[in-house]
């Protein structure tokens, strides 16, 4: 290294954020602010609204599916009696939409976008334009997916896993819908990859002075872990999807045995991503819960660093377990035990995370706001999902429960708490920051108890049906001698779903009320210590309106010797 080092490179350390562009006026101002905005908060809201809209579609599909199972062949309210093909298309799209168009856009796209820069004291994402590109790619993928309902032959009907050769040539009338499905999914992945660059770069490079990595809120860690898992696991499926598209369009035969291909290859590529995807969804949700519990228990998060480390371990393990989705798929029997062991081992890091969350309640001063209720509910319900999963993880037991309603019940008990309890908890908690108003707590409590009651009423029967040997994805339970007697369980589950959907109305009302009227929310309605509560509600362009630095960790609640029961990260130490 010479002393006369060459002139420093003119390489921008940070992209210049949106609010430094000249504010145009009139129609273009509207476009820039609400439509093609580069402001991470607006993009977060766009993701939120798109995701919730798709949740309505997914919920409607669930309603039709459940109605068909309870009253096979009878006209669904607002829908003619559905055919077997309709039914297959609906379960396919229900799964696809709920995982890729609801869970990821809301938990990562919406909350990640809105909160990461605020929580680390940045004025925006590292690449605001990429951020906008990410949303509009996602929007395009949504359009393609919804369009696939209306093409000749209808939407894809080969299951959300799209196993070849069914997806390639098993439903001849369905080629176009299947091709659009692959295209939409590939676009969605592309959008999440583009977004992921931001979610990983921003927390590493844009943190305000004093915000060391281990002073970041747990939510940011969880977002980074989820994004990293996603970016390192989705690639093979993107490549595999292109190959599948070639198979669907040209009968290339990469997955067709008679052409020298192998259908199991797709299953491996799919689940190599598909299992980590579960954690991509779960981690942001547990991150949200980890933000809410300390605030309403007025206690520091119990074991912040162990939680971070366990998350990293779990993220690593999540790449070594994918074949447990294939125990009976013709997998090499020698592979089953290794994958079974890694699968069951992954319960250890998650046990640490969940136990730490529970330990945070110990000797707390717990206030049961709606957000807190949903946070507790998320942990309580997810425990059901996690524990029921062990039976699927044990290869021998999985022989029996695989592809039965047991697995349907199990993954709904993991994904529903993560996606919906997590989202609701986050919305009731951060709504003041997002929209400057509070969500109605009274409606919120009705929403929570109704949701919890009917969620369990919907899915406990499914676990029982699975134990009874009821395989999934059949559109008329009366056909099989061993499924027919379980019709009453189907009825209970269906009524459960009716109630579940019905009890989303309080939320819808609170949601609308929360969007209109005067902004009354103060900066820090919950007396929380993390940085997003230091910004105005809602924050303007550039987020913060006063200078500050970070002086401590994110969860300094009830600190002995501090007059207030919480020490915000931005408060200078006075001693």
């Amino acid at each position: 290294m010479s002393v006369q080092a060459p002139a420093p490179p003119v390489e921008p350390v940070h992209e210049s954020p949106s609010h430094h562009e000249p504010q145009t006026s009139g129609f273009f101002h509207f476009l820039r602010t609400y439509v093609f905005s580069v402001d991470h908060k607006m993009i977060g809201r766009q993701y939120l609204f798109t995701g919730l809209a798709m949740a309505l579609v997914g919920g409607l599909l669930a309603y039709i599916i459940r109605h068909q199972l309870a009253y096979p062949g009878q006209a669904v309210l607002g829908h003619h009696p559905i055919s077997a093909d309709n039914y297959n298309a609906m379960i396919t799209m229900h799964g696809t939409i709920m995982v890729f168009w609801v869970a990821m856009p809301i938990l990562i796209g919406a909350f990640g976008n809105f909160l990461i820069p605020l929580m680390i004291g940045a004025d925006d994402m590292a690449f605001p334009r990429l951020n906008m590109l990410s949303y509009w790619t996602f929007f395009l993928s949504t359009v393609v997916l919804v369009a696939s309902f209306f093409v000749p032959g209808g939407a894809a009907a080969s299951g959300w896993t799209a196993y070849p050769s069914l997806s390639v040539n098993g439903i001849p009338a369905n080629q176009l819908g299947q091709a659009l499905w692959v295209l939409a999914v590939a676009l969605e992945f592309a959008s999440m990859l583009i977004g992921g660059i931001n979610y990983l770069t921003t927390p590493l490079n844009m943190r305000v002075a004093g915000m060391s990595l281990f002073r970041m809120p747990i939510f940011v860690w969880m977002q980074m872990a989820a994004t990293l898992i996603f970016m390192l696991s989705v690639g093979p499926l993107i490549g595999g999807a292109v190959l599948l598209l070639f198979d669907v369009l040209f009968q290339t035969g990469v997955y067709l045995p008679d052409k020298g291909g192998d259908p199991l290859l797709w299953q491996h590529l799919f689940w190599f991503f598909g299992h980590p995807e579960v954690y991509v969804i779960f981690l942001p949700a547990i991150g949200i819960v980890g933000e809410i519990i300390p605030v309403f228990a007025r206690k520091p998060l119990f074991g912040y660093k162990p939680i971070v480390y366990s998350t990293i371990v779990a993220g690593f393990l999540s790449f070594l377990v994918w074949a447990h989705h294939q125990f009976i798929s013709g997998l090499d029997p020698r592979l089953a035990m290794p994958f079974s062991i890694t699968t069951i081992l992954i319960s250890v890091p998650f046990a640490i995370v969940l136990f730490s969350m529970i330990a945070t309640f110990w000797r707390g001063s717990i206030e049961f706001t709606t957000a807190m209720l949903f946070a507790i509910g998320m942990i309580a319900e997810f425990l059901v999902g996690g524990t029921t999963g062990i039976i699927n993880g044990s290869a021998a037991a999985d022989i029996y429960v695989h592809d039965t309603y047991y697995i349907v019940g199990h993954f709904h008990y993991t994904l529903f708490p993560a996606v919906f309890y997590g989202t609701f908890a986050g919305l009731y908690y951060w709504w003041p920051k997002m929209f400057g108003r509070r969500l109605d707590e009274r409606l919120g409590k009705i929403h929570f108890w109704g949701t919890t009651l009917f969620f369990n009423m919907t899915f406990i029967p499914m676990l029982l049906m699975g134990i009874g040997g009821h395989q999934r994805r059949i559109f008329d339970p009366r056909v099989f001698t061993y499924t027919a007697p379980m019709h009453n369980l189907h009825l209970i589950a269906t009524f459960g779903l009716y109630g579940l959907l019905l009890y989303q109305l309080p939320f819808v009302i609170a949601f609308v009320k929360g969007l209109v009227g005067k902004r009354t929310a103060e900066r820090n309605p919950w007396n929380a210590a993390t940085l997003e509560w230091h910004a105005p509600s809602p924050p303007g362009h550039g987020n913060f309106d006063q200078e500050f630095e970070v002086h401590r960790g994110p969860y300094e609640y009830s600190h002995p010797g501090s007059e207030k029961d919480f020490l915000p990260q931005w408060l200078p130490t006075t001693n």
Partner: protein
């Protein structure tokens, strides 16, 4: 202010390697790999050709992409991605190559 283009810390500076030399090496390796492709023994041929490809890739990474001068995080990212690819290969090979031990029809 932080939004203006900041220039890099002096620590970021590094001597530029002799790029033309690296380029020459890459071309030479290209010729080598084409020649190796003519080997009669398929196993040796594949092994050697892909070894050469690996060397070429490492040359580009180290000298053209300056991984040599990047922090450990970058190496970690790349190594991680490659590691999971190896995991994928090991996990899938018994099924797709070995046919899962079943008779192929």
């Amino acid at each position: 202010m932080h939004l203006q283009i900041e220039t890099l810390k002096p620590a970021e500076h590094h001597e530029h390697p002799n790029y033309v030399l690296v380029y020459g090496a890459l071309l030479a390796l290209l010729v080598v790999s084409i020649l190796l492709g003519r080997l009669p023994n398929a196993y040796a041929m594949n092994a050697l050709v892909f070894t050469v490809a690996g060397i070429k890739a490492i040359l580009v990474l180290r000298y053209f992409m300056h991984v040599k001068f990047e922090p450990w995080l970058v190496v970690f990212i790349l190594a991680g991605a490659t590691f999971f690819l190896v995991v994928l290969f090991i996990g899938v090979a018994p099924d797709v190559v070995g046919g899962g031990g079943w008779i192929r029809k």
